[in-house]
Amino acid sequence: MKFTLRIWRQKSREAPGKFVTYQVDGITPDMSFLEMLDVLNEELLARGEDPVAFEHDCREGICGSCGFLINGLAHGGRRGTTVCQLSMRFFKDGETLTLEPWRARAFPVVRDLIVDRSAFDRIIQAGGFISAPVGSAPDANAILVPKDIADTAFEAAACIGCGACVAACPNASAMLFTAAKLVHLNVLPQGQPQRYQRTLNMVAAMEAEGFGSCTNHGECAAVCPKEIPLEFIGRMNRDLRRAIFRRRFERWRDATQ
């Protein structure tokens, strides 16, 4: 198979970027998308040109390293699939493919197809954890978790932090990412003590990082390689309203005591 690739090339965060067109040939249908880029990079290296920088590691859809837009679609737009798992048999021979990095204010471009997603870490730092210092844990079966709750927590915790949701959202919102972590921790019995503070803190951190707000487009869930459901955003918003209400109540109570 042959492909024409239009790839966004940008040397560094400050440098201007532009699309550069390349041809690749000899691609087989069982190769993965990243293996196709490996072939291109080997050729570039042989010609003494800079290889295309892209992030990847596990190449099996779990580490969340990979991700860029293919023809405007995050991870290429196949349901439940990261770009590292995308095989070339999904594309037509001779097709032109446009590759560009995630576009979002909170994800500055590092180089070519690589962006800086450290904003996600800072959202987690704000409250995406259950405080359980080592040594303090009771016996694991002392905490009963109904199966449906455990399943929901798992479904939310399956997020790989790739950032596709942000890239797909017209507002570059990080609601799905934040909601996934909040639902994971907020449904579990272990997560209850910090539930409302966690919600307030993580939402505040998300806003401070410069992510946009949610206007219910649903593009995020459509491209999520782990198929995190859109409904989780609703759950997060419910917890947020309760948290705000509780905070107001506590302030009023303290003021009137």
Binding site: M31, E35, D38, I114, I124, I130, V134, A153, A157
Partner: protein, 636 residues
């Protein structure tokens, strides 16, 4: 001789005794100590978070953009713990026994017993953090059985156990970062270790974005940098996994133990093309319900579902009636290789065997199979385009895990004072073969429980002079690191780092892979110096060292793999016995199983670097077995 500092007294009391005898650092003094943790996988993140909780000043380094990407994220099957929640006869002693036996008597009894004991606390800790393990309808934790054991002691979170455990440790780490106890250095790669006055006092790193070479001072350094299966190029490890941190430590005097003990995992998707960049593991838990077979006839090309029952050879069930499809990995892998060598392999390249779920689906129904293995079946379909609910999967062994690593004593300290090694990076507890679901257990035992007890003891019992980065040892190491990188950039040859890596991988797979012989190892040892020389003369790189340069990173890692490969072959050649995953053709039992030679090889082989052109020196740590009797392993 090597002193492993194993506490005296009965096995069950050693860790308790050791903990009692260790010195403590008072809470107010902890802030005065700086601890560097290199690596933020399960072992590194758990260690950094816990030391942070205790109040030490921790600096944690990772070459990833965030700690959540570490290769631990990819572990699928589960984590062992001797909870005996199933009341099926499990106990700490049984987990200990299984691990010693599974490791083919090449690990330390004391370490393994401690690991089994701590397995109980790990599950408690992870549940408290909110790790969403699989549950039964009553709300209790679910468990399953896993390769090589007869009890159900494996806890799991669908096929994503590593991800969930790592996120637990990652979140604990992020909490400490927010609290200011841990400083995280992402996209920063450690390239050297610095010793002052015989003690490890810091590291040299490269900022992967700017190329800046920096020095960092510490009172103790932990390496939790993972395994080196990528020496084979094609493996189940993440693409960036490498040996640089432990290899550079080795070059600074840390002993490298049992480098030839590498595990080949039986259930991976067979290689399909020349351009393949990695191999994908199918969780071993699949062997609980899937049945492994090949056609009885050679070269049978009928579709699997057309091959009648009596023309199939369920070779694991046939050879190992008691354990069947659940035999340890080394046995399952070699058996698969043998049937393929006989010409009975399946799939396009003839290097594959079937893993069939038809019976499981009949027994449990599609839904239950989907519930247990759904994501693994999906992954298989994405890669191969085949639906494993309808046609059997095809699997073949692939390099997966390295039992070898830096030598450590009972405190997980290397022979270099102040250098601790955790997780897959140390040689530790798995002997010559690791049992399924015990790497996660070991990484977390090391990080949550052992290092946070032994590092304070080191700090409290040694008076460490204050040092700073202006010490000549730091500037010299920095200069050496910079020079090596410049040397790589200046070659301007014609072969890419990947092309050298592929050639190295193929050589190691053919000559030092699933089976080894004196001849194959000698051939590899003859070829390796040539390959290394070609690398240093003909490597192609572009760009500079002062920017994000992924080819430079790769080349630098490959340069270390090229050296490590030689040590692996030297070790494999010297160990003229077969044990666990190390299968020397010359040493087999009459029924073609691995034959140990306890008279001559019942020891840990710890190698010392003697310089670039000199043979390494062998140090032996004899292994004694007081509790489990040395027997020829049998799973018949």
């Amino acid at each position: 001789m090597l002193d492993a500092r194993i506490p005296s007294g009965p096995l069950e009391q050693k860790w308790e005794k050791c903990r009692f005898e260790m010195q403590l650092v008072s809470p107010a003094n902890r802030r005065k100590y700086t601890i560097i943790v290199v690596g933020a996988g399960l072992a590194g993140a758990s260690a950094a978070a816990t030391l942070g909780q205790q109040g030490y000043r921790v600096h944690c380094f990772s070459y990833h953009d965030t700690p959540r990407r570490a290769h631990s994220i990819a572990a699928q099957g589960g984590i062992n713990a001797a909870k005996n929640y199933r009341n099926d006869g499990d106990s700490v002693y049984r987990l200990f026994y299984d691990t010693i036996k599974g490791g083919d008597f090449r690990s330390r009894e004391a370490n393994v017993y401690r690991l089994a004991e701590l397995s109980l606390n790990i599950i408690d800790q992870c549940v408290a953090q909110g790790v969403p393990f699989a549950r039964e309808y009553g709300g209790l934790l679910d468990t399953r059985s896993f390769g090589g054991v007869q009890v159900q002691r494996t806890f799991y979170a669908r096929g994503q156990t590593g991800q969930q455990l790592l996120l637990g440790a990652y979140q604990a780490l992020q909490e400490q970062i927010a609290a200011g106890t841990v400083t995280m250095h992402t996209r920063t790669e450690m390239l050297d270790l610095v010793l002052i006055g015989g003690r490890v006092r810091g590291i040299i790193t490269r900022d992967l974005l700017t190329g800046a070479i920096d020095a960092h001072v510490a009172d103790a350094v932990v390496l939790a940098t993972g395994g080196y299966s990528n020496v084979f190029y094609l493996s189940t490890n993440a693409k960036a996994s490498n040996c640089t941190a432990i290899w550079r430590a080795y070059r600074r005097g840390a002993l490298f133990a049992n480098p030839c003990f590498t595990q080949i995992h039986p259930t991976c998707i067979p290689q399909s093309s020349e351009h393949q960049s990695k191999l994908t593991l199918m969780s071993e838990s699949l062997r609980n319900d899937g049945r492994v077979w090949v056609p009885k006839k050679k070269g049978d090309t009928r579709p699997p579902n057309d091959i009648p029952e009596d023309e199939r050879d369920y070779f694991l069930e046939r050879r190992y009636p008691r354990f069947g499809n659940l035999v340890p990995r080394d046995l399952a892998s070699r058996a698969a290789k043998e049937v393929c060598d006989e010409g009975r392999g399946v799939g396009p390249q003839g290097r594959g065997v079937y893993l069939d779920f038809a019976d499981a689906i009949k027994r449990m129904g599609v839904e239950e199979v989907r519930e247990k293995y759904g994501n693994i079946f999906d992954m298989y379909e994405k890669i191969t385009g085949e639906d494993a609910y309808k046609v059997p999967m095809r699997i073949y062994p692939a390099p997966h895990y390295t039992m070898g690593g830096l030598w450590v004593d009972y405190h997980l300290m290397s022979n270099l004072p102040g250098l601790f090694v955790a997780g897959e990076a140390n040689f530790s507890d798995h002997g010559a073969n690791r049992l399924g679901a015990s790497a996660l257990m070991q990484g977390l035992a090391d990080g949550y429980f052992i290092l946070p007890a032994t590092i304070p003891n080191y700090l409290a019992t040694n008076s460490l002079e204050p040092v700073s980065v202006s010490h000549p040892a730091f500037s010299q190491a920095k200069a050496e690191v910079a020079e090596r990188l410049q040397k790589l950039l200046k070659i301007r040859g014609r072969r890419s780092p990947d092309s050298f890596h592929r050639e190295l991988g193929k050589l190691m797979w053919d000559k030092c892979g699933m089976t080894r012989s004196a001849q194959s190892l000698r051939e590899a040892l003859a070829r390796l110096p040539e390959l290394r020389q070609e690398f240093w003369e003909n490597l192609a790189l572009v760009g500079t060292g002062e920017e994000l340069n992924q080819s430079l990173e790769k080349a630098n890692r490959v340069s270390d793999f090229l050296e490590l490969a030689e040590l692996m072959c030297i070790d494999a050649l010297h160990r003229e016995e077969s044990c666990g995953c190390h299968f020397r053709i010359e040493s087999q039992t009459p029924d073609e199983e691995a034959k140990r030679d306890d008279e001559r090889f019942c020891y840990v082989a710890a190698w010392e670097w003697k310089g670039p052109d000199r043979a390494p020196e062998l140090h032996k740590e004899p292994l004694t077995f007081e509790y489990v009797h040395l027997t020829q392993r049998s799973y018949k």
